[in-house]
């Protein structure tokens, strides 16, 4: 997977392995979970007092739902432009969508963690997981985490005026 940031243009992600591309295509679907544990994590309590909890449910939660959905729709529009050539895929992340990708990747990682109840030790030592579904979930979490790290690095360098090209 390679990343090329064009000046005032999109972040181009090229040479994406077909399997990795399939995992990336699944991000919006994973993030739009109905799993109660995952939803409880995504829409966590703000603490404070009863008044805040009630206001939060009535006014803030709908705003957060809209915010998260907006991020996923932005990701979907970038993913809709995927080109598959000679066994690899490529796509572009539009400049206005970078923060949406960070949010969407994070949401998908949190959902996978909560849905599959992955433990701290399993996240450190992948070989501890015997169940293929949970192992796949951890693989996806790590892939999304890798992409998040790259995106953070690219954004950091873009903000400092450098012109990064990163392969991974």
């Amino acid at each position: 997977m390679r990343f090329q940031l064009e000046q005032e243009g999109p972040l181009r992600v090229t040479e994406v392995d077909p399997v990795e591309m399939e995992f990336l295509m699944q991000i919006p679907g994973i993030a739009r979970t109905e799993d109660p544990a995952a939803k409880a994590r995504i829409f966590a309590s703000p603490g404070g007092d009863k008044e805040l909890e009630e206001d939060w449910e009535a006014f803030v939660r709908p705003e957060l739902e809209e915010h998260f959905e907006g991020a996923l729709e932005a990701m979907e529009s970038d993913l809709a432009g995927v080109r598959r050539v000679k066994g690899t895929a490529s796509f572009a992340i539009e400049p206005g969508h970078w923060e949406h990708w960070l949010t969407g990747l994070n949401q998908a990682r949190l959902v996978l963690w909560a849905e599959h109840r992955l433990t701290d030790s399993e996240m450190i030592e992948e070989s501890e997981i015997a169940d293929p579904q949970r192992a796949t979930a951890l693989f996806a979490m790590n892939l999304y985490g890798f992409l998040q790290e790259i995106l953070l690095r690219v954004l950091g360098e873009a903000e400092s005026g450098e012109d990064p090209e990163i392969g991974g």
């Binding site: 703000p46 603490g47 990682r109 963690w113 701290d120 790290e149």
Partner: protein, 98 residues
């Protein structure tokens, strides 16, 4: 017209003063999933902190389980909590100790 009980009035005023004067803490909590670099960036963006200060809070969250990332009036504190939740950072509002 009945005159209000002055003791009751005093209690009400004390409660109002308590709500107005008490500062509130925005507390960020540890999470095994969020990347350290991501949390640092969110603190920078939400609070306008330098990278060093944001990283200090991130490390406090990581090692101690929580960090008071901002203290002040309730209304902006609630707004900061909402912003942090918008980035999927676990954060709660707590009364600051006097």
């Amino acid at each position: 017209m009945a005159l209000a009980d002055p003791t009751e009035q005093t209690q009400v005023l004390e409660r109002v003063a308590d709500q107005v004067d008490l500062p509130w803490n925005v507390v960020a909590h540890n999470d095994p999933v969020n990347l350290m670099s991501y949390v640092t960036r969110v603190f920078q963006k939400v609070f306008g902190y330098s990278k060093e200060r944001a990283r200090k809070h991130m490390l406090e969250v990581h090692h101690r389980g929580r960090s008071v990332v901002w203290t002040g009036m309730r209304e902006p504190a609630e707004a900061y909590i909402q912003k942090l939740h918008g980035h999927l950072i676990l954060a709660t509002l707590e009364r600051a100790e006097r």
